[in-house]
Symmetry: C2
Subunit: 340 residues, 2 copies
DNA sequence: TCACTCGTGGCAATCGGTTGCGATGTGGAA
DNA sequence: TTCCACATCGCAACCGATTGCCACGAGTGA
């Protein structure tokens, strides 16, 4: 066919996969008929369609997604951007998204922003042209940057709100209320919030809600941080926590809570005897620590699933069905108890 | 331009992004010149190239990966298939792969096979046409299926060997030797291996190596399983372990080891007093358990990185540089000790 | 028997880039 | 001044699939 355009791919010696042209030639039909037979049900005679399907199967036809996406403008690929792939918080989220993609016939492209808004923006720059839409989980971007992205592609946010953009956010307030109630009931009167990164919407939000509920219950409340939302961040915050004189700490996430727990053990501070520690999310491992971590669970797998479905629904024109609320709930384990 | 082909995408009201044709028109040049200026360094006059770059920046040109991949046959996308995204083993692997992809200008497509060879094969069917190559991590496929895939795309295996196909496999033997040595030195004389899925090459391999080293040291050795490679698998194996009468168990992976640990705690069995437990991989959380888990660490992040680089090297024609060996090493914590 | 409708399938343009080859123009050497 | 070489850029085919419009033929009603 091509005389002067030699395939440059490094695909080497592999045989190129069959195209609709191959099928058409085999059956002495036109490529357009083949195309229609394969994805416009009823458009061609049933008998012809069957012949085409048989030939396709025989030739091992697989379709070329790139070629298809050129005229249609749709790639059937979705981007998922998380701030840190090694953070267990995201595992369930990724799985939820991945499974939903699979069911809906989409392909998931994963990207990591390494807790940096800049990296995230650069990554998105590369990602955007290739996908039909993006799920931004725990984005470290400025509101404006997110709006800008939303201007060129459909976007669904997880754990963040920016204006009216579609967002999947679990019911923060419910879990926070339960947490404060739990601590107040145990008899604590002064609590601290160990904040995550300043760029994290969710960290600010949890802090706000905690603050409100704490003062509503007449508790003393202080905020410590911001710090990095990982083990190290929790670990390094111990001295500030001690200095604050509180009897209970809520960390922005479980990773930080576990880090703090470790620091306590290293310093010989008894948890929950001397200090109560709570986290958020109920990640894998939260029940493995000693003492096991009391935490506020959020259904991230369902969030991932919901985000993808909402995105795909937008593509199909239908306004996404109002996603059912994602309740958060406290999981009481061993790191909380009544203060002396 | 198009009179009778109305864009079907649901991209709605968004403005289409600029193309090389827009740039060409703006500068009164030909699209081919624009194309060359943008990716054939030196092929067009420096002054022209600069004008083109300026115009591209001004118009916010982003290139269309689909359009580019059509003539070249290369998508600059890599597939990564893992058996279970929520298994912490893979987190570091995914990160390693993701970062390497980023550096090399590739996009990572993540897929999960849910521990099922069938699902994996189906997933790959959808994935293959879209990527330049695939990294198969802990594949649950038959050797033949893998060979078949390798016939159409470049493949790199992680934690598995199939014939001469490129594979990144950590030095299993070294870690196993250390593990057996550790237990033997402590005074254990009978040990068990708790196997993972029968379809897991790595599980069989670890079992084999353990067997060899155990008999070489004159230890009694039994194998239990196969079971699912997760918490549940470990948990449900406790009775078989007890029945075997061994004083030390090595589980196929940390998840199973932790599951077994939990079952022990529930049954009031003291670890390491009554039973020693070891795992493999040193996943996140292995040091959080009580007692903290002794395990054989394997550098999965480096494996992910190496796999991607090796894949990309093949594309560029150059035979992949022999990857440096990935040593495994025992991490002694609290779940092993001398038997009574 | 004639005309009209409807079911089928083909034609050809198009998506956005890439690239072999040829056309053009400039500069330098003879 | 003439000729030639080389640097630059344009032409046009092509990657594989989609789709609006049209042509053809068979079946139906008048």
């Amino acid at each position: 066919m091509s005389e002067h355009l030699s395939r440059v791919g490094t695909n080497g010696n592999r045989k190129p996969s069959a195209t609709i042209y191959d099928i058409a030639r085999e059956l002495d039909l036109s490529p357009s008929t083949v195309s229609r037979a394969l994805n416009k049900p009823g458009r061609v005679a049933a008998k012809t369609e069957q012949r085409i399907r048989d030939a396709a199967a025989k030739l091992g036809y697989r379709g070329n997604p790139m070629a298809r996406s050129l005229p249609t403008g749709r790639t059937r690929m979705l981007g998922l951007v998380v701030s840190d792939v090694t953070n267990p918080v995201f595992f369930r989220l990724v799985r939820g998204a991945e499974q939903a993609c699979g069911e809906l016939g989409y392909t998931l492209v994963l990207a990591e922003s390494q807790e940096s808004g800049e990296v995230e923006y650069g990554t998105l720059d590369r990602l955007l042209p290739a996908v039909d839409g993006v799920v931004l989980a725990a984005a470290r971007l400025e509101d404006d940057q997110i709006r800008q992205i939303a201007a060129s592609k459909d976007v669904v946010l997880i754990n963040r709100r920016v204006g009216e953009l579609p967002a999947i956010v679990p019911d923060i307030d419910g879990g926070v209320a339960q947490a404060i109630d739990h601590l107040a009931t145990l008899g604590h009167t002064s609590i601290a919030y160990l904040a995550g990164p300043a760029t994290s919407w969710m960290s600010r939000e949890r802090g706000e809600r905690l603050f409100e509920h704490a003062v509503a219950r007449g508790l003393t409340f202080v905020e410590i941080g911001p710090t990095s939302p990982d083990l190290g961040g929790g670990q390094s915050a111990l001295r500030r926590v001690q200095a604050s004189g509180v009897t209970a700490v809520l960390a922005y996430n479980d990773l930080m809570a576990i880090g703090l727990l470790r620091a306590c053990r290293a310093e010989g501070i008894d948890v929950p005897g001397d200090l109560n520690i709570m986290g958020f999310d109920d990640i894998f491992g939260a029940d493995l620590t000693t003492p096991a971590l009391t935490t506020v669970r959020s259904p991230l797998d369902r969030a991932g699933d919901a985000a993808v479905r909402s995105l795909v629904a937008t593509f199909d024109g239908s306004e996404p069905a109002a996603p059912d609320p994602l309740p958060t709930e406290i999981v009481v384990r061993e790191s909380t108890a009544a203060p002396h």
